[in-house]
């Protein structure tokens, strides 16, 4: 191993910084899954009958399903009876009415993570909903948003306060029968975030959900539902971390986006779940279903994701382009280091006329990382003049890692234009030496080269998130050539 290579290796082996455990009293139900468990979850949340029925339907359907094996990720069989499906910080009596009532230990946790929840401290103007294990602990800036009719709250609260919206939109994009993990989530989800932007309103600040898994052996099954009514706009951010634990933990979330006519949703994710240690022990299984529907004409949904964490990332944020002239976008950076695996990409369903989609995927593999792009572009019969542009680039660091690209294209309308470009490149010792010879040290050089590779995606992120993503990438890469 040359010196440059050695330097990159040590650079890539940096420690996970969010791996601490918070000591809070929790209300946890025993591990295992049954109709009773679902009834307990539903009862704890004082849910209306329709929701319990929906959960049970999902559970019964889930029982008939088998775990999918078509992806390129490999993991030991999950024992679904060995997972805790509900764990919540114990709160005196009810949910906290204001931030003052939130357990200070929890607030400190979020501060440690760089997510200040106290509104007076928030200079950035980002409204945050924080989900700790199974429940949402705090939502900021609610009052200010309510002035414009924007609803931004925990999912549980939305169920109580706005059952008609939940009933109308829950499962309308990702049905409870959709896939194995989505069905499981539908049965047992415990909380998440809900957001509704009324007609013609441009949400004045970025909305953000912050997910944190704390308890051991706990699965996190949250649900996010974002509805943008006609002519509205919202930018939504999502961040995730978890403690370092030796056992794997399952995170099976569902995110549904609905954009009505002329509405636009921009959904950005920086996912930094615990990736496991350098030998591949522990880490989160991030098996998530994310889908948006452009229901009306001229609607637009844009997914941007930076995936640096999780032992396994398995997800395909997708867009159903129903409305004419609707637009779907997917910008992704997925990094796998050590023994991390990622099988991610997107699906674009062109149904309406003149629908357009853009897919930019950047996969970075280092160490023994395994990175796959899997994408589907489907143009239906009536989607006249549909257009898609796909670009998949893979960057390999070292010689023990792997990158794969599985593009699927199905076109039923002859007027469609579908373009696909793919490249694979290796971070060269030539590139590194070039930077070193200009006086730039290895750490800065690797970070510069990788950030250059990801530039197209980073420029889609909101400013602060982009800075965070760049930093995260630097940290996650510490140590990769073999």
């Amino acid at each position: 191993m040359t010196k440059e290579a050695h330097d990159i290796s040590s650079l890539l082996s940096q420690e996970y910084k969010h791996g601490f455990v918070t000591d809070v009293e929790v209300d946890t139900i025993p591990a295992g899954l049954s109709e009773d468990v679902i009834r307990i979850i539903s009862a704890k949340k004082n849910e209306p009958e329709f929701l319990l029925e929906w959960r049970l339907k999902a559970y019964r359907h889930w029982l008939t399903m088998v775990e999918p094996t078509w992806s390129s990720v490999r993991y030991p069989k999950i024992d679904f009876q060995n997972i805790v499906y509900y764990s919540a910080p114990k709160l005196d009596k009810d949910r906290p009415k204001s931030l003052d009532e939130v357990d200070p230990e929890l607030l400190r946790t979020y501060e440690k993570l760089g997510i200040p929840l106290k509104e007076q401290e928030m200079l950035a103007g980002v409204a945050v909903d924080a989900v700790f294990d199974s429940v949402s602990v705090a939502t900021t800036f609610k009052a200010k948003l309510a002035e414009q009719g924007i609803i931004f709250c925990s999912f549980s609260e939305a169920v109580q306060e706005h059952p008609e919206l939940i009933k109308k939109y829950l499962g309308s994009v990702v049905p409870h029968t959709d896939n194995f993990y989505a069905a499981l989530n539908s049965a047992v989800f415990s909380d998440g975030s809900f957001c509704y932007i009324p007609k013609g309103v441009r949400c004045p600040m970025d909305l953000s959900t912050y997910f944190r898994i704390n308890a051991a052996s706990t699965g996190q099954f949250e649900r996010t539902l974002v509805v943008a009514d006609e002519g509205s706009y919202v930018s939504y951010l999502e961040g995730c971390t978890a403690p370092m634990r030796d056992e794997n933990q399952l995170h099976a979330a569902v995110v549904e986006l609905v954009a009505l006519e002329d509405a636009e949703i921009k959904y950005s994710t920086v996912q930094n779940w615990y990736p496991g240690d350098k030998d591949g022990k522990g880490g989160i299984y991030n098996f998530v279903t994310k889908r948006g529907a452009c229901r009306g004409n001229n609607a637009k949904i844009s997914w941007t994701q930076v995936e640096t964490g999780s032992a396994i990332t398995w997800k395909y944020p997708s867009v159903i382009l129903q409305g004419d002239n609707s637009v779907g976008e997917f910008y992704s950076v997925a990094l796998t280091n050590n023994y991390q695996q990622a099988d991610t990409g997107t699906k674009m369903y062109h149904i309406g006329k003149n629908t357009r989609s853009t897919i930019i995927s950047k996969g970075i593999s280092a160490g023994h990382g395994h990175n796959a792009y899997r994408g589907l572009v489907k143009v239906l019969k009536n989607a006249r003049n549909a257009r898609n542009y796909t670009q998949c680039d893979s960057l390999l660091i070292g010689d023990q890692c792997a990158a794969h690209t599985f593009p699927y294209i199905e076109v039923k309308n002859t007027s469609a234009q579908v373009e696909h470009e793919a490249t694979t490149s290796k971070i060269g010792e030539d590139q590194l030496f070039y930077c070193l010879q200009r006086g730039i040290n290895t750490e800065d050089a690797v970070s510069m080269i990788v950030n250059g590779f990801c530039k197209q995606v980073f420029k889609e992120l909101p400013m602060e998130f982009a800075v965070e993503a760049q930093k995260l990438l630097g940290v996650s890469l510490e140590g990769s050539v073999g």
């Binding site: 070039y434 200009r438 510069m448």
Partner: protein
């Protein structure tokens, strides 16, 4: 400034020595041309001086500014004023030229304990340098060498050299692949950078470049050794006779 004494070097993981005892003394302000046939060790010499790890020094020493050069990492050598203009400048997609330049200039400043330049000051600084190689501002916002023509790449190397203001500049076949116009621009840029405190080692296969950058000394490298040294007239002579005689004399010496 630079003293090379009996330098032997080989490619790491190979047994064959490429440099077999090179000695060379370079003083500030001097321009040394190193010529020689393919495979004579010219680029190896450049890479060994710059600290590329694919090469291993087996014998001899190099003193740079009074200190042993070899303990220094490549970036430290750069920070202390050694610049290598690459024969094949690499492309770095997505990284703006100006970003690389600024990072490089500031790395050097930081190492010397000087204040780093902010974006505005740097822009003023680099615009002066651009004129030197007849490049316009658009070069700054393009990705490093990506989609550059051969000539543009070499001009970009000279731009970096101008920005980093090295004490010792090594040009590794900077003339290769250049048409006559680009060659003139590059040579012109280098000539403007000549000063009494700065030394150059110009590695080239052909005499052509030396019509424009007139060296103080010309050395002929063959079989890993310097087999002849002289002044700029030697280059003209070689142009007529070729390197063959020198290769023969090299093996005769062996």
């Amino acid at each position: 400034m630079l003293e090379i004494k009996n330098l032997h070097a080989k490619v790491t993981e190979q047994d064959k020595e490429i440099l077999k005892g090179i000695s060379l003394n370079v003083k500030p302000g001097e321009v040394h041309a190193i010529m020689g046939p393919n495979g004579s060790g010219k680029s190896t010499l450049a890479n060994v001086l710059a600290g590329r790890q694919d090469y291993e020094v087996t014998q001899g020493e190099v003193i740079y500014q009074g200190h042993d050069l070899f303990p220094l990492a490549p970036e430290e050598r750069a920070q202390q004023g050694i610049f290598l203009a690459f024969q094949y400048p690499v492309e770095i997609p997505g990284v703006n030229n100006v970003y690389l330049l600024k990072a490089a200039v500031n790395a050097g400043r930081k190492a010397r304990g000087e204040k780093e330049l902010d974006a505005m000051d740097f822009l003023t600084f680099i615009k002066e340098k651009l004129a030197l190689v007849k490049m316009d501002n658009s070069f700054l916002s393009r990705a490093v060498n990506e989609g550059f023509s051969g000539g543009e790449k070499k001009r970009n190397e000279v731009l970096q050299m101008a920005a980093l203001e090295p004490k010792l500049a090594i040009l590794d076949e900077t003339d290769s692949g250049l048409d006559i116009d680009a060659l003139k621009i590059v040579a012109d840029g280098v000539n403007k950078l000549r000063n009494p405190n700065r030394a150059f080692i110009i590695i080239t296969h052909y005499q052509r470049l030396l019509d424009y950058i007139v060296p103080d000394y010309v050395h002929v490298l063959s079989g890993g050794r310097i087999v002849r040294s002289g002044d700029s007239k030697l280059a003209l002579e070689l142009e007529e006779t070729g390197y063959i005689n020198d290769s023969n004399s090299a093996s005769a010496n062996a």
